[in-house]
């Protein structure tokens, strides 16, 4: 059932955020430490567990993948509510600090990605790309049939 997928996602998110809060308190920080990351790891573990027992139904998959597909629209909504006026009127100190750290960090990404070497994305990645891109063909479909979905996404 679809709702089980949504509920699974919700439960993982709640537990993850709760643990992130606890971690923040334990470290004496006024912030959530890695709550979303913990939730993601829980969801990955849940998927592996369900898959092994043959309980990963199409409904459950759809319930989660629907929200993965809503990710970009949500990011667009997020962009539309940023305080862009403040960002643009902050003056030179703001621009210099932001651009400086950005350039340095982009450089560091370039450096770090050299370490790992490169691989061509596999079929599973194509499926993932289609789902997160919000492509209906990719949702709850097997990786083998996502070639058309990939073209669209």
């Amino acid at each position: 059932m679809i709702v089980f997928g949504v509920a699974l996602l919700a439960t993982c998110t709640l537990i993850g955020v709760y643990l992130g809060d606890l971690l923040g308190i334990a470290l004496g920080v006024k912030a959530n430490v890695g709550g979303v990351g913990i939730a993601m790891i829980l969801l990955i573990a849940a998927r592996v567990w369900l898959d092994r027992r043959g309980r990963l139904s199409k409904g459950v998959k759809f319930g989660v993948e629907f929200w993965a597909g809503m990710y970009i629209p949500i990011v667009v909504a997020m962009a539309a509510q940023q305080n862009v006026v403040a960002a643009l009127t902050g003056g030179p100190i703001v621009i210099i600090a932001a651009v400086g750290s950005l350039v340095l960090c982009f450089g560091a990404v370039a450096l770090l990605s050299r370490f790992g070497g490169r691989e061509a994305p596999g079929a599973g990645d194509a499926h993932a790309g289609a789902v997160v891109a919000g492509d209906a063909d990719g949702i709850a479909a097997e990786p083998a049939v996502t070639h058309s979905a990939r073209r669209e996404g």
Binding site: L9, V17, G24, L27, V29, K30, A31, V33, G34, G35, V36, G37, M40, I41, L43, W67, A68, Y71, P73, V75, V76, A77, A79, A80, Q81, Q82, N83, V84, V85, A86, A87, L88, G90, P92, I93, V94, A97, A98, G100, S101, L102, L104, C105, F106, A108, V109, A110, L112, S113, R114, G116, R118, P121, G122, G124, D125, A128, G129, V132, G134
Partner: protein, 258 residues
């Protein structure tokens, strides 16, 4: 008569705020995809255009209302605030983890940790140096502005913890917001140059850029399949920044400037 119709539509938008947001964002993405196909011949990702369009609307919304939440401060578009707020954003980010390749993620673990460390230290150094260059000499202001360069949440959390004044806090937040906006817009432009085309570099990128909103937007606009890997590391970034900002970083700066 025309006024009444307009009033009625506005009423529906206010009452059905989240539903209205779905329709508006859907329309925005439709227009962006068309623009990507027709105007750029598919070279620019439709979602990249949609995100930039969202930022442009946020700018005009902010000018129009004088508020801090872009178009979400307009009553008829308040649903955008809920749709793009932290709750649904985190919910959707977690959902993307369903597509993560476990082996790939595990292999990149150490790289992610290294990226997180660098992503906290490098922006802080740049931020503090900029603050010093612009005439700030007290440890509290320097640290707060430096922390803002990490993310716009680390800035005010650090500032509040060490007692920075509100002007410095505003500068710190503005630095973080500017960085987030630039990450969203800049990532697709430099993606090829920095080798951002596989899960491992996405995890390094997430840890280095930090700002969840920047990473979320930047990767969505570059290559959606990389989103979960970047998000996985980025989500630890703000917490770590909030941890070291008011403690190790502040003490170090204070020891250096006296």
């Amino acid at each position: 008569m025309g006024h009444d119709i307009w009033h009625g539509i506005e009423h529906v938008f206010v009452e059905q705020s989240l539903v209205a947001a779905f329709a508006v964002v859907g329309g925005l993405i439709l227009v962006s995809n068309l623009a990507a196909k027709r105007l750029t011949n598919g070279r620019v990702h439709g979602s990249a255009i949609a995100i930039v369009l969202g930022l442009v609307l946020a700018y005009f919304g902010g000018l129009y209302t004088g508020g801090k939440k872009g178009v979400a401060d307009i009553p008829a578009l308040a649903g955008i605030g809920l749709m793009g707020g932290a709750m649904l954003r985190d919910f959707a980010i977690v959902a993307t983890a369903f597509e993560v390749d476990v082996i790939e993620a595990r292999r990149a673990g150490l790289l992610g940790v290294l990226a997180l460390a660098l992503g906290t230290i490098l922006p802080f150094i740049v931020g503090t140096l900029t603050a010093v260059a612009f005439g700030y000499h007290d440890a509290v202001s320097i640290t707060t502005i430096g922390a803002g360069a990490i993310t716009y949440i680390v800035g005010p959390v650090t500032g509040a913890a060490i007692g920075a004044d509100s002007t410095v806090m505003a500068l710190s937040i503005a630095t973080g917001v500017t960085k987030a906006v630039m990450v969203m817009v800049g990532t697709p432009l430099v993606a090829k140059l920095i080798g951002l085309d596989n899960p491992r570099s996405a995890m390094a990128y997430g840890g280095l850029m930090g700002t969840v909103s920047g990473v979320a937007g930047g990767l969505a606009a570059t290559d959606p399949k990389l989103v979960p890997y970047g998000a996985l590391t980025a989500t630890f970034h703000t917490g770590i920044g909030c941890l070291v900002g008011p403690s190790i970083f502040f003490l170090t700066v204070r020891a250096l400037v006296g």
